[in-house]
Symmetry: C2
Subunit: 201 residues, 2 copies
């Protein structure tokens, strides 16, 4: 029997996935989590073989939880299940010790297949996505540039960004200008969109 922990913030989807997995004779759900910070305690208590983690969750995202799990419960294999096939997500997932990366776009039948493959020690990654992640190259933004861009992403003015990050306005302008040039776009709104799409936020 494969013991699975399921972490997903949307109750309807979590319950539905649980129903789907319950149909498989060799899989049993031993724990559920609705937030990123519930994953580790639940896992320590239930000792699952596989952790199936969504990325977008309140309370710290699934990639952070994946890293924690990998360190503190290395016997538990992590599978990421997410809506967005962003190259940056895949890269971070692999760096966090995940053994697989599934998209919610994939057919439902693949979920159980992926769990069994992970259980056998195989890696489970959509080849198309893997190629995309490799061809994208790494995140070109410096940590500070990311921070500034992240605040800019919800429409803050330069003054507001400077205020929130305790920087001078000139510095914010320079960071944004650098990000805009690295991403090869024309303004910070475009830069923010692009960085978010790639999972570089």
């Amino acid at each position: 029997m494969i013991r699975v922990l399921l972490a997903e913030d949307q109750g309807m989807v979590r319950g539905a996935l649980a129903a789907l997995l319950a149909l498989e004779g060799d899989i049993t759900i031993v724990a559920e989590a609705a937030r990123g910070d519930e994953v580790l305690p639940q896992a320590l208590a239930a000792r699952p073989d596989i952790a199936l983690l969504d990325i977008e969750m309140p309370g710290g995202d699934g990639l952070i939880a994946a890293g924690d799990l990998h360190r503190q419960l290395p016997a538990c294999k992590v599978l990421i299940l997410t809506t967005f096939g962003r190259p940056g997500y895949l890269r971070r997932a692999m760096e966090s010790g995940a053994v697989g990366f599934l998209l919610k776009d994939a057919p439902a039948t693949e979920l159980a297949v992926a769990i069994r493959r992970a259980m056998r020690g195989e890696r489970v990654v959509d080849p198309t996505l893997a190629v995309a992640a490799l061809s994208e190259g790494d995140n070109p933004l410096s940590p500070r540039e990311r921070e500034v861009l992240a605040v800019a992403a919800d429409g803050a003015s330069i003054a507001a960004i400077a205020d929130r990050l305790y920087l001078s306005e000139g510095t914010v302008r320079n960071h944004l200008s650098a990000a805009i040039q690295k991403l090869n776009v024309h303004n910070r709104a475009e830069a923010a969109r692009l960085a978010e799409q790639k999972g570089w936020l």
Copy 2:
């Protein structure tokens, strides 16, 4: 037996919801759709009692499909199932003839309950959300303002917007300025965020 059509673009979620509903003795899935424009033909062929529609889908969103269904197959009751509790979505859903509006955040157990209530002719709407939608008031943007703001939302410059919509730059500036003032924000990035959040895009 309640005959249900299920429309949801993410294969994994669609399959999982199907498994969830299959557990209910009185509900059967008679058709599935992965795109907005598949909903009507599938429904005409399968004659479901209830259509369970996601909003965000390729090929025309679920609200358009809801309107089509309501006109061409009025016997079929429409339930919207979506990630985002945006007031504008709820409003448009009700205007399209939907009888219910569910959030994927809700517990999985409510899905079957909602379907049975809809079947009995009741309306199914989260009260909190209904209040929010009412207190928000209507979309204050004129059609043209929405269009301009929608293009602005992905970071286009005024010149680019003018180009894409065949307008002069001055006109674009005026529309954006009007939108910014109506939404009571300081720039178009904020305006775009806010409009999108409310479902006014």
